[in-house]
């Protein structure tokens, strides 16, 4: 069993939060360049294709970098 794990895993110590931050930066850059190119805002699918990542990863990383800014969060603090 451990074999599959060793085979699949790159064992990078990089934390998810950092990788999502990096992806989010790329997403916003890509959004800007595609907006210029298309003359409208790109869809999530177009961003995913351009960046060669899944829509799933885009959604997760956009939410993961969300700074607590909305009205509700201040109340919980």
């Amino acid at each position: 069993m451990g074999e599959i794990r060793r085979f699949m895993r790159d064992d990078s110590p990089v934390k998810v939060s950092r990788s999502y931050k990096e992806l989010a930066v790329r997403i916003y850059r890509c959004k800007e360049s595609l907006t210029n190119k298309l003359g409208r805002e790109p869809t999530i699918g177009e961003l995913a294709e351009e960046l060669a990542v899944s829509k799933e990863e885009i959604v997760t990383s956009l939410e993961a970098i969300q700074v607590p800014s909305s009205i509700h969060e201040t109340v919980f603090q």
Partner: protein, 145 residues
Amino acid sequence: MEKPKNSVLIQFKSIPENVSLARVLVASIGAQFDLTISELDELKVAVSEAVSNAMIHGYLNDPDKNVEMEILCFDEKLIIRVTDYGVGIADVQLALQPSYSTEDDRMGLGFVFIQSFMDKMDVKSKLNQGTTVTMVKNLVHQQES
């Protein structure tokens, strides 16, 4: 009613982390319909407001209470329903007024945001039984360019 293409029901504890969970869930449904980031952001704000109202007002921040969210997907629209079984709203018309809040330090703009970002909103509430906020987002299918 026409049968939805997809339907998702989720139930989660009334803790702040789960506002983000509700947001990510609705965003990933939105992504299936290939919306833009701005459109996803609007959906997420509406859901955040409804879910945090359920937690803060409905359940008075009691983490052991459960909030429910139902998402129904049709070809032309999304229906999102957020329910709590908490204190309820005495006067819904009043609660919907811009800048009305029962708490001093709050802005009273949650319902205003929901109404401006979604195409339809309906609030059903009974004192001491709870509140259901139903939101509808029309899906405009854009021409491919």
